[in-house]
């Protein structure tokens, strides 16, 4: 589904952030991208979501080469991804409902369909009762759940989460991870970057980065719960 072939990424005036990345992520997989700060985890996710283009090599997503994607095609591509960020990237002048509705507004969905889909997404993350509340009034864990609701509302085939539990305590972090696992269970590909591996009963693929290179690629690991 997503294939990296000899991918390098560097920024002007700095050493290579990613070097010779070769990997394959299959449809419906749960992938943890792990590594210390500066290992290139976020850059890898940016390449998958076409926020950045590789310096060399190719990234193939469903027969589309993201290295050569046109700028006008990027928005359409991104609508197929659900993205979750460490800092949530919520809009604090809109309420919970409006935040989750944003991707559907972009897709020009009808109001009735939008209402139905947004409420379903909020229900999935257990925030339906707080749909009229402003994000600032929510706890850190709730804000991250809201960000997940926004990511899943357009029913993407891939969920990409950049350190989604970095600022959360253990209890909230587990709660968030369980939501991701539930999506993986219904066939959504979930790619999560994280410092440490969380505990899970589900099979997953671990991609360990260090200094911009893949140090270890372990497939189908099942950790004891």
């Amino acid at each position: 589904m997503i294939t990296f072939e000899k991918v390098y990424k560097s920024y002007p005036g700095s050493p290579e952030v990613l070097q010779n990345i070769n990997l394959e992520i299959l449809s419906g997989e749960l992938v943890f991208v792990t590594g210390p700060s500066g290992a290139g985890k976020t850059t890898l996710l940016k390449l998958i979501s076409a926020i950045e283009k590789p310096s060399s090599g190719s990234i193939i997503f469903e027969s589309q080469n993201l290295s050569r994607i046109k700028d006008t095609e990027i928005p359409i591509l991104r609508r197929r991804f659900g993205m979750i960020f460490q800092d949530h990237k919520l809009l604090y002048d809109r309420n919970c409902f409006e935040n989750v509705a944003l991707p559907l507004e972009i897709n020009n969905m009808s109001i009735s369909d939008m209402n139905r889909r947004v409420r379903a997404a909020l229900d999935k993350v257990d925030l339906l009762k707080k749909e009229k509340m402003m994000p600032i009034t929510l706890s850190g864990g709730e804000q991250q759940r809201l960000a997940i609701a926004r990511a899943i509302v357009s029913r993407p085939s891939i969920l990409i989460a950049d350190e989604p539990t970095a600022n959360l305590d253990k209890e909230y972090a587990e709660e968030i991870m369980n939501i991701f696992y539930s999506f993986q269970q219904v066939g959504v590909t979930v790619i999560i970057s994280t410092h440490e591996l969380p505990s899970t009963k589900i099979n997953f693929k671990r991609l360990q980065l260090n200094g911009g290179s893949i140090q270890n690629l372990i497939g189908h690991v099942q950790l004891p719960a």
């Binding site: 940016k46 979501s49 926020i51 006008t72 928005p75 359409i76 591509l77 991104r78 609508r79 991804f81 993205m83 960020f85 990237k89 919520l90 809009l91 604090y92 944003l102 991707p103 972009i106 897709n107 926004r150």
Partner: protein, 275 residues
């Protein structure tokens, strides 16, 4: 605030246009009453005068004909001059003359008429008494050109000012733009509300311009009516035709649209997401 700036800025060239329109109408009215003087030979016979008068009456370009015999002209002149001057002239130096006013302002037609008149026996010379109107018209054309030049400069100023305001707005909504881009919004989708804002600025500014112009015309005419009753004149400041007001609003909205489009497009394209 922005719509007030647009309104007042557009007021300057619009007021200039209003003044030009009024001055143009006055010059046209005066020109309609302008005369051509036809001076006859001093030896012209009565038959020749009748023939010339008949020729003039047949000409469709001529609205009014007035014949002034040389004796009457001389009497009029003498009454204006002091006795010493008139007594020093022994003979009447003035010729018989026709004074005509025309139906047309077309310079080519007027010149053709003059050429025809010059060819008639008994006519000594033909003079158009409207050179000062020509000068006035040239002056008005120059003023019109200046107004258009000033309008062009002010439009550039408005494009910059509105563009800058929209650019600042894009910075205010930076987070929203970033999130929208990240979740798949096209630049056109993100640009749209900024362009609506630009159009609304233009619409508001255009309405303010119209309001100021209308109020100015009403105020001026109220004063002119008072003056008219004192001095016995009937000068009224003519309002611009309605289509001009429509043009002003359309122009203001276009300025808003163009500047917001350029500014929002550049700002959104430059915005780096998820750094």
């Amino acid at each position: 605030m922005m719509i007030i700036v647009i309104g007042i800025t557009l007021c300057l060239p619009s007021a200039g246009l209003l003044l030009i329109e009024n001055a143009g109408q006055i010059s046209q009215n005066i020109e309609h009453e302008a005369e051509i003087s036809i001076f006859l030979d001093k030896t012209v016979s009565k038959d020749q005068i009748d023939f010339i008068e008949l020729s003039l009456k047949k000409n469709s370009l001529i609205k009014k004909i007035h014949f002034e015999p040389k004796l009457i002209a001389w009497d009029k002149l003498q009454s204006k001059l002091d006795v010493a001057v008139s007594s020093s002239v022994s003979k009447n130096p003035l010729p018989d003359a026709f004074f005509i006013s025309l139906n047309t302002l077309d310079e080519i037609k007027i010149q053709k008429l003059i050429d025809n008149l010059d060819g008639i026996d008994g006519i000594d010379s033909v003079t158009v008494d409207g050179n000062w109107i020509k000068k006035l018209r040239i002056g008005l054309s120059l003023i019109k050109l200046s107004v258009f030049f000033i309008a062009a400069l002010l439009i550039i100023v408005l494009l910059v000012v509105i563009g800058n305001t929209i650019r600042l707005q894009t910075l205010t909504y930076k987070d929203e733009i970033e999130v929208s881009k990240l979740i798949g919004a096209t630049n056109a989708f993100i640009q749209r509300p900024f362009m609506y804002t630009g159009i609304l600025y233009g619409l508001g500014g255009g309405i303010i311009t119209i309001s100021i112009l209308k109020l100015s015309v009403l105020g001026l005419n109220a004063t002119l009516i008072k003056l008219a009753s004192i001095f016995g004149t009937d000068i009224i400041f003519q309002d611009l035709p309605h289509r001009f007001y429509l043009y002003i609003v359309i122009l203001a909205m276009l300025i808003g649209l163009i500047s917001s489009y350029i500014s929002a497009r550049n700002s959104i394209q430059r915005l780096k997401i998820y750094k």
